[in-house]
């Protein structure tokens, strides 16, 4: 991944968030407080000009900027969580380009950061339930000879990650929430897809889209 691709990825996430904003809010109304869509929309609407103003020297600079912007604009649970994840990814990618393997490690670092901050484990019906399988699928697909060559099957890894994230998000429907607002519903949280896991699926689908 190089800097232009990183920028394209983020812009695609922003576009996807706009497209899916209503649905995200709808999901959050069912088991949360009905603002996940507007929260992310507010965040990425601020991210775009922030990136335009930026002359990034590295892939990481792009992702770090996304993280800090989300943290200082979103609020709610998703702001610090996504923000910390992108900041952590940014730290991992100091170069002008990143190999697919390096990107995989960055995605893993992002997962570690949001797990550390939010304390959620897989199965708690959160962002983690989409992000964790996505990272696993990405690394599995990326992990083979040739991966050290920058563009090496990034498309394949991204596609695998996107499918895994989407799958993980859908799988949250069956779960009872143990973290976040949905946990207040106890058993009533079962049967609804988690908004945050759903937006995470958008993040990975965006990566697949721009790398395809």
């Amino acid at each position: 991944m190089d800097i232009p691709l990183a920028l394209a990825w983020i812009r695609e996430i922003a576009a996807a968030v706009e497209r899916e904003q209503a649905r995200l809010t709808e999901l959050d109304s069912a088991i949360g407080d009905g603002d996940h869509g507007s929260n992310l929309s507010r965040g990425f609407t601020a991210v775009l000009p922030a990136l335009d103003a930026l002359a990034p020297a590295s892939v990481g600079a792009v992702l770090t900027k996304v993280g800090t912007t989300l943290i200082s604009r979103v609020g709610g649970a998703s702001g610090p969580l996504y923000g910390s994840a992108f900041r952590a990814m940014g730290k991992e990618l100091p170069g002008e380009r990143a190999t697919t393997a390096e990107l995989g490690e960055a995605l893993a670092a992002g997962l570690a950061a949001l797990r550390e901050l939010g304390g959620a484990a897989p199965g708690d019906k959160t962002i983690v339930d989409a992000w964790a399988p996505a990272v696993a699928a990405f690394t599995a697909a990326a992990d083979h000879p040739g991966a050290d060559h920058p563009a090496a099957d990034l498309p394949a890894a991204a596609k695998a990650a996107a499918d895994a994230a989407a799958h993980g998000a859908e799988a949250t429907t069956a779960l009872q929430a143990r973290k976040g607002r949905a946990s207040y519903l106890g058993p009533r949280s079962i049967g609804h897809q988690d908004p945050g896991a759903t937006s995470t699926a958008l993040v990975f689908q965006a990566l697949a889209t721009v790398t395809a």
């Binding site: 088991i31 949360g32 607002r181 009533r188």
Partner: protein, 331 residues
């Protein structure tokens, strides 16, 4: 959606502008979204700062003033403020004796205030945080997000605000806040759902004869639905639910808050208060002080919450201490 607003995305900005116009005794930073007292303290005192999502008015901005909060930072509707905003509130309120953050226990609030506290500490501001988690509708457990913070926030903020005015040190003020929170329990019943402006429709649909029991103040649905019943029965159920989770014994005194959720008229809240008082009397519990009205609301949601805080002479003394804020004032 029927609301007196200009547009869903300007609700907070517009409401803050109106709040600023209505309360010249307060400073409202419309850019940072921070409400603070215009008058700086004569001597350094612990700065009490709170904030959270908007839509719970008068919480928190309505409690800024002598005897209560030094500053408040309102987030978007039902969305916690961002760290920068909390930091700005802490900075403007800080007078050299440290800052106490009163935070309602929601993941978003906890995370954003935690990041803000780190930033403040980096700037050399001593920060302590009191988490308010009084809602017994939510089971408390380390494996979950824990209980929500609701009505007890008012009691905690009044108490710590009064103690801070007496220039108690930060550790002492924080310890009091934790004690008052630990002595408080709440439970809420909704007759209708709140409509988040950005969502444009009620958070949940409730048939004409049903209520949400154990509802949250963010339009989160409750733990179950029931038939609407007479106020006497609802009040009894709420009192019993709160007491079941409260170490209150006959002979104890409490501060009782019968709180409207935003769309319920005062005449109904008084009906409820009468039933609550009667039920508590049956259980041998005395209401030493009370509040009846809209204090921790959920936009236009109809319904009420009950908060009971075990009272002791020290707490009552702090409760009775002078307060002069938009929403709470006595001398």
């Amino acid at each position: 959606m029927k609301k007196l607003i200009n547009s869903p995305d300007t609700v907070l900005t517009d409401a803050l502008a109106g709040f600023a116009a209505a309360h010249p005794e307060l400073t409202v930073d419309l850019g940072q979204r921070v409400i603070s007292r215009r008058a700086r303290p004569a001597a350094p005192k612990v700065a009490v700062v709170s904030g959270g999502g908007s839509g719970h008015e008068p919480l928190h901005g309505g409690f800024v003033g002598p005897g209560m909060l030094d500053a408040a930072c309102p987030g978007e509707v039902f969305t916690s403020p961002v760290p920068d905003q909390v930091l700005a509130a802490a900075q403007v309120a800080h007078s050299g004796a440290g800052v106490l953050l009163v935070v309602k226990n929601y993941t978003g609030d906890v995370l954003n205030f935690r990041l803000a506290a780190e930033l403040a500490e980096e700037e050399g501001i001593e920060v302590r945080t009191v988490l308010v988690d009084d809602d017994v509708a939510v089971q408390d457990s380390t494996f979950t997000a824990g209980r929500r913070g609701t009505g007890a926030t008012v009691v905690v903020e009044k108490a710590v605000g009064a103690l801070a005015e007496r220039s108690a040190p930060l550790a002492e003020v924080a310890a009091l806040g934790e004690r008052v929170n630990a002595a408080s329990r709440s439970f809420a019943i909704a007759l209708t759902a709140a409509t988040v402006p950005a969502a444009g429709k009620p958070g949940f649909d409730l048939p004409d004869d049903e209520i949400e029991v154990g509802v949250g103040i963010h339009g989160e649905p409750g733990r179950r639905r029931e038939r609407l019943r007479p106020a006497r029965e609802l009040a009894a159920e709420v009192v019993d639910t709160v007491l079941a989770d409260h170490e209150l014994a006959a002979g104890d005194e409490v501060i009782a808050l019968v709180n409207g959720l935003g769309g319920t008229p005062l005449i109904e809240l008084y009906v409820v208060y009468g039933e609550v008082a009667a039920r508590l009397a049956e259980r041998g519990i005395t209401i030493a002080r009370n509040l009846v009205g809209n204090y921790v609301t959920s936009l236009d949601m109809a319904g009420f919450s009950l908060t009971l805080t075990k009272a002791d002479p020290h707490l009552l003394d702090l409760w009775d201490a002078p307060v002069a804020t938009p929403a709470l004032r006595w001398s």
